[in-house]
């Protein structure tokens, strides 16, 4: 079977706080014959702090990553972390649309910026192979789920080119392809507080509570994400979220790769499910009773 080869930019989250995302991503990639080639000697993308300190730094760091990928012969680069993806995509967009920025970055990096690899997120990558997922499903993921896209994956529209910025559906389609039932809900693209998780945890608790409440009100049995920060703010910070909700909630938060992994029959251990703070458990389905005539 022909395999799809893509450049892979892990970023700090995938080797740190979101190892479960990395583990499940690798397991699913293997099952779907996607070869993830790590960018040699990749550096930090700048993420939340870069653009607060210096605009040029926030562009130059990701461009440096992309130049390394280009040097390694990569045509496209997938960044699973939504923040990494957003920085890489924004930087690409800026050097492509502003000759001045391009020149400044070239000066700083002392390299000529030629063609850069295409940047994509994990949803875009999985959407490319969506047709091959269905036939490989061994155990349907038959849960009602709220697909939570967050902010960085889809915005700003001119940079990301995501399907529908305010009402994205790509992740819903993936979940449906493995047997899940995505719900229509209000906070698909609301802010979770992102990196305020560390500096102002109470903000994350307040925002997370709104997201969790609407998902639970609409009978979601799981929340599916594709961003390490969305995940930690709803999972790691569930205590804070629960405090704002004044209610103990136990709806698990899964990465899209974990959902697909479960449906493909990949063992839980390889998907890093045990690393979650909210245990991955689903309400027992009523067993169909046989009607005796």
């Amino acid at each position: 079977m022909s395999s799809l080869k893509v450049g892979y930019y892990p970023g700090c989250s995938l080797v740190g706080s979101s190892r479960d995302f990395a583990e499940s991503l690798h397991a699913v990639a293997e099952a779907l014959s996607i070869e993830l080639c790590e960018i040699p000697e990749w550096n930090c993308c700048g993420a939340s702090s870069g653009h607060m300190i210096d605009h040029l730094v926030s562009i130059a760091l990701p461009i440096n990553v992309l130049l390394k990928a280009r040097k390694a012969g990569m045509e496209q680069v997938m960044a699973p972390c939504a923040s990494c993806y957003n920085r890489l995509a924004t930087a690409s967009h800026e050097v492509a649309t502003s000759a001045k920025t391009r020149q400044q970055v070239e000066e700083v990096l002392q390299t000529k910026i030629d063609k850069l690899p295409k940047v994509m997120n994990v949803i875009e990558l999985l959407a490319q192979v969506a047709d091959s997922i269905g036939p490989k499903v061994t155990k349907k993921f038959e849960q009602t789920v709220a697909c939570y896209y967050g902010c960085l994956l889809v915005r700003p529209a001119k940079v990301t080119g995501f399907d529908k910025t305010e009402d994205p559906v790509e992740m819903d389609k993936l979940v449906a392809a493995v047997g899940g039932k995505p719900i229509d809900w209000n906070f698909k693209t609301e802010c979770c507080g992102a990196s305020f998780s560390i500096s102002r945890t109470c903000v994350v608790g307040r925002l997370g509570a709104k997201i969790m409440k609407d998902a639970i009100d609409r009978k979601a049995e799981a929340i599916v994400v594709a961003c390490p920060m969305c995940h930690s703010n709803l999972d790691l910070r569930r205590g804070e979220v629960n405090r704002h909700m004044e209610k103990a909630t136990d709806v698990p938060v899964l990465f899209i790769t974990q959902v697909i992994g479960l449906a493909l029959g990949i063992p839980e251990k390889k998907l890093g499910l045990a690393r979650h703070f909210v245990p991955v458990k689903f309400p027992a389905k009523p067993v169909a009773t046989q009607v005796v005539q």
Binding site: P156, A157, K164, T165, E166, N186, E190, D217
Partner: protein, 663 residues
């Protein structure tokens, strides 16, 4: 020997700021044939034109080059001046030193060099000019008005009142347009129907107006004063002469659940219907897509019950061709479909509606009889949020321009709501309130101060439903960027004004230019606002740009005056810039070999065949002949002619080659 005068215009700073005009004048004097060259600040002004006239007489000039702006701007002006000075107007040429030189280059010696070259080209050309005579063509003094909204009605009435016949063509079954759907109108709150319906009736009864409702323009051929319009009268399936508008058919029609277009889908209509009770003409039409007879071959309930036996199931579309002298485009606008505003939940939540739906709710002729009732459950909403700029001034998801009417109609909506639902709360989210117009700002202040409408300056990020209640989440930028959440019973979106569907195709059919948003383009944004670049076609109303009613009516009257002005002339003169097949003496001579490649190349069907006969009447040769009435001077035939037998008057091969060779 030629005696050419060169007149260089500074155009204020437009040309002189970049080009060394004095150097151009000096260089011009050295050109062969030039006997006079001057520069002046505004050549097009009265003193400037006088200089030109005087110089023609004093220096005995036989050709004039005005080096100024684009010939599109002032060629007619200077040709007229040259004529007044005693020259044939076509002995005057323009060198475009503004658009082709000073505006596009920086101030530097090469710019001046280019200006000198441009002057030299025209000097070489004008030396080879021949006196030409304008072509005289008759005018058909009958106008076609396309679109039966308030713009079309006003234009048709004004033209008809000058005594000229008018064809008023409307694609829907009734005239009246968007204005007939409106409740009250700003800034006076007078009822839209009360001021519009008398005009509709007047248009229908006017002796000089022929109404073509449920009709479309299929084709427009010809040119100013001599258009040929092909109109398709779609079959209503009704004999209009017999029908007396009693309405029995629509009462008895068994298909009754079709969303009513006039009420924006807030109520239903039958498959045979009159769009609204005040429709003009008050004759029904059968909706073929929904009629049971056309779907299954059975029913004919209307035919059986019609007291005047006016139903005609076998009626066909009719095609009529009319000679027309002028056209007024008044095809109107549409509001942006809101399906792309998923953040506002449109389509998902029944109580999120657009402005036009609110108009129907507030209208006495609407589905609720003018009571504000929300669509989901028919209750009076206690809190309504109005969102201005839904799509307007939004580069990313909407249109970059301001739709102009929304600030005013939103204020009107909020005001009407406060008048009709006592104790209710109306909140308006806005970016800026743009209320420039007579009594407009006063009207908005009245909404705020007298009626207590709450204005929140900020954008709405999301409208969502929480336990069956709409929640509007936005920001109040005057409260230091504080987030606000309002629990509302109904949300009204002031959606952007856009060009009508099919505007682009229509513009291409009529050869009228349009802007990137498909609004028809005026010939000059300030000085020729109701004319198009195609002579004889004029504009009225919102097909040109978002407009409110007062502006639309004013523009429609303006367009009507242009038509009346055109019709007041006994005949038209056309530029003699047309192709001619050489027929130099002796009479039987022509280079044309009769291959007629030109005939297949001509986009205007202007090439005819002509037989050259001897005295005995024997045909010696069949050659091409250009019909001067149809030729538009495009030059396509000239370039296809194998024997160089065709030339374009005013742009002959000799002239163009002389221009090229002098660079």
């Amino acid at each position: 020997m030629a005696r050419v005068g060169v007149f260089i215009c500074h155009c204020g700073e437009n040309i002189a700021g970049t080009v060394d005009v004095n150097a151009v004048a000096k260089a011009a004097l050295d050109m062969p044939g030039v006997v006079h060259a001057i520069e002046y600040k505004y050549m097009c002004s009265d003193p400037g034109q006088t200089m030109l006239k005087d110089a023609i007489a004093e220096k005995k000039l036989d050709g004039v080059v005005v080096a100024a702006c684009s010939p599109r701007m002032h060629e007619p002006t200077f040709r007229r001046t040259a004529e007044e000075g005693g020259l044939n107007p076509y002995q005057c040429e323009m060198a475009n030193l503004r658009e082709h030189c000073s505006w596009v280059h920086e101030k530097a010696p090469p710019t001046t060099d280019k200006a000198i070259d441009l002057v030299r080209l025209q000097v070489e050309k004008v030396k080879r000019n021949h006196p030409l005579k304008p072509i005289r063509v008759p005018i058909t003094k009958k106008a076609l008005v396309l679109g039966g909204g308030i713009a079309g009605i006003q234009a048709a009435l004004d033209i008809a009142n000058t005594g000229s016949p008018v064809l008023l063509v409307e694609k829907s079954p009734s005239i009246g347009g968007h204005m007939s759907q409106l409740s009250e109108t700003f800034p006076t709150l007078d009822c839209s129907q009360c001021i519009l319906t008398p005009r509709m009736v007047e248009a229908a009864r006017h002796a000089n107006i022929t109404l073509y409702t449920y009709s479309e323009l299929e084709k427009l051929e010809g040119f100013i004063g001599n258009f040929k319009a092909t109109i398709r009268k779609k079959a209503r399936k009704i004999d209009e002469k017999l029908c007396n508008g009693c309405g029995v058919c629509q009462q008895k029609c068994p298909v009754k659940k079709i969303p009513d277009e006039f009420n924006e889908g807030l109520s239903n209509r039958a498959a045979i219907y009159v769009p609204f009770p005040q429709a003009v003409p008050n004759k029904p039409v059968i909706d073929l897509a929904n009629c049971t007879y056309y779907k299954t071959g059975k029913c004919k309930a209307c035919e059986k019950l019609c007291p005047t036996k006016a139903i005609r199931f076998d009626q066909e579309d009719q095609i009529e061709v009319h000679d027309i002298g002028a056209v007024v485009l008044a095809t109107g606008y549409k509001t942006m479909p809101v399906s792309n505003f998923s953040e506002y939940g449109y389509g998902k939540y029944k109580d999120v509606i657009d402005g036009m739906k609110f108009e129907r709710l507030a209208s006495a002729s609407g589905p609720t009889g003018g009571a504000i009732r929300r669509p989901s459950d028919g209750n009076a909403p206690q809190h309504v949020v109005f969102i201005a700029c839904a799509g307007s001034r939004d580069r990313l998801k909407g249109v970059p321009y301001c739709s102009k009417i929304c600030c005013m109609y939103t204020a009107k909506h909020a005001m009407l709501y406060q008048h009709k639902v006592h104790g209710g709360t109306a909140t308006v989210f806005y970016m800026d309130v743009r209320a420039a117009g007579k009594n407009y700002d006063e009207f908005v202040r009245r909404a705020v101060e007298d009626d207590g409408v709450k204005y929140v300056r900020g954008r709405v990020s999301r409208v969502y439903e929480d336990n069956g209640q709409l929640v509007v989440k936005g920001v109040d930028t005057l409260l230091g960027g504080e987030q606000v959440e309002i629990r509302a019973d109904m949300v009204v979106l002031a959606t952007a004004v856009q060009a009508q569907d099919g505007a682009e195709e229509l513009a291409q059919t009529l050869h009228v230019s349009y802007d990137p948003y498909k609004f028809f383009a005026e010939a000059h944004p300030k000085l020729r606002p109701v004319e198009t670049n195609t002579a004889g076609i004029f504009l009225a109303g919102a097909c040109q740009a978002p407009r409110d009613i007062p502006e639309t009516v004013a523009q429609a009257s303006g367009a009507a005056v242009k038509v009346a002005g055109l019709f007041s002339q006994p005949e038209l003169t056309r530029e003699p810039i047309i192709a001619v097949v050489d027929r130099q003496p002796p009479p039987v001579f022509s280079h044309c070999v009769g291959c007629f490649l030109c005939k297949s190349a001509c986009p205007y069907q202007a090439i005819e065949e002509e037989s050259i006969k001897n005295r005995q009447g024997d045909v010696l040769k069949v050659v091409a002949k250009v019909n001067p009435g149809l030729c538009q001077g495009c030059g396509t035939c000239v370039s296809t002619c194998r024997t160089k037998a065709i030339d374009l008057q005013g742009f002959s091969n000799e002239q163009v080659f002389a221009e090229l060779m002098c660079i």
